[in-house]
């Protein structure tokens, strides 16, 4: 645990400063994996410590949301997709992972002020622990919900499991970047935690979780500003990529949209989400590291 700026390699060479600092940070993070694991365990334990139903509470929200939205959008306002409940839950689980991770991460530095001011450890483990504990929730939730999806959408759901896991992996990378940005920014801008609810409400409706992207394209035409806006939103692509192997692609046909069966996501979409994931992680991590220098002073 030395100051990385002053360490020369054993052969006497001193690598470039930027590279040195970056690599040292990654090594440090690797060395802190034990701590990260303990923090994830803590998150999971603390959440269900005093509740009898435990993990099933975290299934209750998506289940209720699915019931409510299914009633509204199949009985009142009709969104014409096959098996709306399956369609919705396949996208909503992913959204819930993203939102809960960011929500936990935004308080992670400010809320652990005592720790940050008194002990040295790589600060990124705090937001990352929230992302990873939510990841475990997501995987458990997927396991719980998969029988229903298999029942509704056939065994293709199981067959395309690698694609689902790949999508989860890419989303985790993306979420880690966003979560670190939120955590670091909230230290200097405390307003962010107030704005958070609004940001995520707008972001939720601007992401095709409730409705398929194809439907918007079909109704408004591909050139519409709304379609452009949806396509700029990275979460659109994550939801599409995640939903394709779980539920199936929704494509436009004359007179409406039609749902396909679970399938491999198109390479173009995969490419887009990969670029987003890597770029957001790099930028989010870099901003976090820059901000983390003064965490102990700002809190």
């Amino acid at each position: 645990m030395t100051s990385p700026d002053n360490v020369a390699l054993p052969d006497g060479s001193v690598p470039g400063r930027r590279f040195r600092t970056g690599t040292a940070k990654l090594i440090e993070l690797w060395r802190a994996r034990e701590l990260l694991g303990q923090l994830v365990r803590k998150e999971l334990k603390v959440r269900y410590k005093n509740s009898t139903l435990g993990f099933f509470w975290s299934m209750l929200t998506p289940a209720l949301m699915t019931v409510v939205f299914s009633v509204i959008f199949t009985q009142v306002v009709i969104i014409d997709v096959e098996d709306f409940a399956a369609f919705f839950i396949a996208g909503y689980l992913l959204w819930q992972f993203f939102q809960n991770s960011c929500q936990g991460a935004i308080h992670s530095i400010v809320g652990n002020g005592d720790l940050v001011k008194k002990v040295y450890f790589p600060r990124e483990v705090l937001p990352l622990s929230h992302v990873l504990s939510q990841l475990i929730h997501l995987l458990l939730a997927l396991a719980v919900i998969s029988p229903y999806l298999i029942y509704q959408r056939g065994f293709g759901v199981l067959l395309h499991l690698p694609a689902t896991l790949l999508a989860v992996g890419l989303l985790t990378v993306f979420t880690a970047g966003v979560a670190m940005w939120f955590a670091a920014t909230n230290v200097v801008f405390r307003d962010l935690q107030e704005l958070f609810v609004v940001i995520f409400l707008v972001w939720f409706y601007a992401t095709p979780v409730l409705y398929p992207l194809a439907l918007v394209r079909d109704q408004l035409g591909a050139g519409s500003w709304l379609v452009t806006a949806l396509q700029i939103n990275p979460m659109t692509w994550f939801v599409e990529v995640f939903r394709t192997p779980l539920y199936g692609a929704v494509v436009a046909v004359p007179g409406g949209v039609e749902s396909g069966l679970p399938a491999w996501p198109p390479l173009v979409s995969l490419g887009i989400v990969t670029v987003w994931a890597v770029a957001v992680l790099v930028i989010g991590y870099a901003l976090f590291l820059r901000g983390s220098r003064t965490f102990a002073k700002e809190i």
Binding site: K117, F189, R190
Partner: protein, 439 residues
């Protein structure tokens, strides 16, 4: 090879050829916002009016600590001690200058930092250990030891929020001491807990020191500093005031405390009525003195000048030991004497005669002028005079109780007439203090 290289790169191995800690021209600046704009709205509306002052918590501090040295950092509150420790622990990055640390560092800045109240003692041991950089295997290995040191075995599976605060700290300490670093940074943690706990923590530190590890302690407990460390760094308002042997450093710090502890002269205009022109200490025959034998009679001569017409006032004298301990206070009114009334520019000379029934040490005198009731202070001269009492045979400690000894039964020898033994003088003060700390 790659693994070793990475380990080395992350600073885990010690290079014995280089010092343990090098601090070079270290400066740490804090920005004190007068009204901190912390939200977007405030930022937008106060963009230009946001005012702040930069405050150097540390200013161009340089020192080097070799492997195996134990160093104490002392100074007033706000002198930058804790900031320095945070920089050494890498909690804060330096704003200017360099901190170079060679070896694995553990810092005990707070015990039980990161405990989660809802988790059990067992779970918190693993969590806190991980925060301090221990891996699961080494915690497993020392688990029983930790539990025994903390004495929490019956409560191991109870949430720590139900623990008493003493137990909480003990558990924090028990985990912290299992960290086995090359360099240990300790900040005042010894001050918490009961006497037994303090004793035990001192023992731990001693063991650590004897194992040849580097040790940096921030403390106000000068006894602990004397015992634990062989070098002292004194910080004063962010600057390095002293770096050297313990006894000198502690003495310097005591003097500074005494100077700072004296009441400050009030700055109100209405208090500018009297000025203390001169304060001098004289022996019985009228010659000025600064070093005197125990129990000698002295006269403190205070010369006042009235700046305007003043009513009858009282002159007070306070005698303190160099570390600020008040020893004696007297006001002329207590003895039925009022000074004045004085016309403008009139002088008054007050003589206070006293016998210093004190033993070897450094003492300071503070003089004040107040109204008759003692409610309003008109003038204060802190540290107006000093005197030292020379070591002399007869006793050790603070007060000369003028003891006489006699052997009323059994054989006795008269010493110190050039006939008998060599031990006649009192034990020197530092040695006595050290003995007290050990006992």
């Amino acid at each position: 090879m790659v693994g070793r290289r990475l380990e080395r790169f992350a600073g885990v191995t010690v290079d014995p050829g280089r010092p343990a800690i090098v601090v070079d021209q270290l400066t740490e600046t804090f920005r004190l916002h007068h009204e901190r704009p912390s939200g977007i709205k405030e930022r937008l509306t106060r963009l230009r009016r946001s005012s702040y002052t930069d405050f150097d918590a540390l200013c161009e501090v340089s020192f080097t600590i070799e492997h195996g040295e134990s160093v104490a950092v002392i100074g007033h509150n706000g002198s930058g001690k804790s900031t320095l420790l945070k920089l050494l622990a890498r909690i804060l990055p330096p704003d200017a200058g360099r901190v170079d640390i060679n070896g694995r560092v553990a810092s005990l800045l707070e015990l039980g930092a990161g405990f989660h109240g809802d988790l059990t003692g067992r779970e918190n041991i693993y969590l806190n250990g991980a925060i301090l950089g221990l891996d699961k295997a080494s915690i497993d290995e020392r688990f029983d030891e930790i539990v025994d040191v903390a004495g929490i075995r019956p409560l191991l599976d109870t949430a720590v929020r139900t623990y008493s605060s003493g137990l909480y700290v003990r558990l924090g300490f028990a985990i912290a001491v299992t960290v086995d670093p090359d360099i240990l940074l300790v900040d005042e943690v010894l001050a918490v807990g009961d006497a037994e706990f303090q004793q035990r923590s001192l023992e731990r530190m001693r063991g650590f020191r004897e194992a040849g590890k580097t040790f940096v302690l921030v403390s106000h407990d000068l006894e602990a500093v004397r015992e634990m460390c062989d070098r002292v760094i004194v910080l004063d308002r962010g600057r390095l005031a002293f770096d050297g042997p313990v006894s000198e450093g502690v003495e310097l710090y005591r003097q500074r405390v005494a100077a700072a502890a004296a009441p400050r002269a009030p700055r109100r205009d209405d208090s500018r009525r009297v000025r203390i022109e001169d304060v001098s200490l004289m022996s019985a025959d009228g010659t000025p003195v600064s070093e005197i034998p125990p129990s000698a009679t002295m006269t403190l001569r205070i010369v006042l000048r009235a700046l305007s017409e003043v009513d009858v006032c009282s002159v007070g004298v306070l005698i303190a030991r160099a570390d600020g301990t008040h020893l004696y206070e007297v006001h002329t009114t207590w003895q039925g004497v009022g000074v004045g009334p004085l016309a403008s520019d009139q002088d008054a000379t007050v003589d206070v005669r006293f016998s210093a029934h004190l033993l070897a040490g450094h003492y300071t005198i503070t003089v004040s002028v107040t109204d008759l009731t003692g409610r309003e202070t008109w003038a204060v001269a802190a540290d107006a005079a000093r005197f030292d009492i020379a070591p002399a045979p007869g006793g050790a400690g603070l007060v000369d109780l003028a003891a006489t000894t006699a052997v009323s039964d059994g054989p006795a020898v008269r010493l110190g007439d050039g006939t008998g033994g060599s031990v006649t003088g009192p034990i020197p003060l530092p040695r006595l203090q050290r003995r007290r700390a050990q006992g």
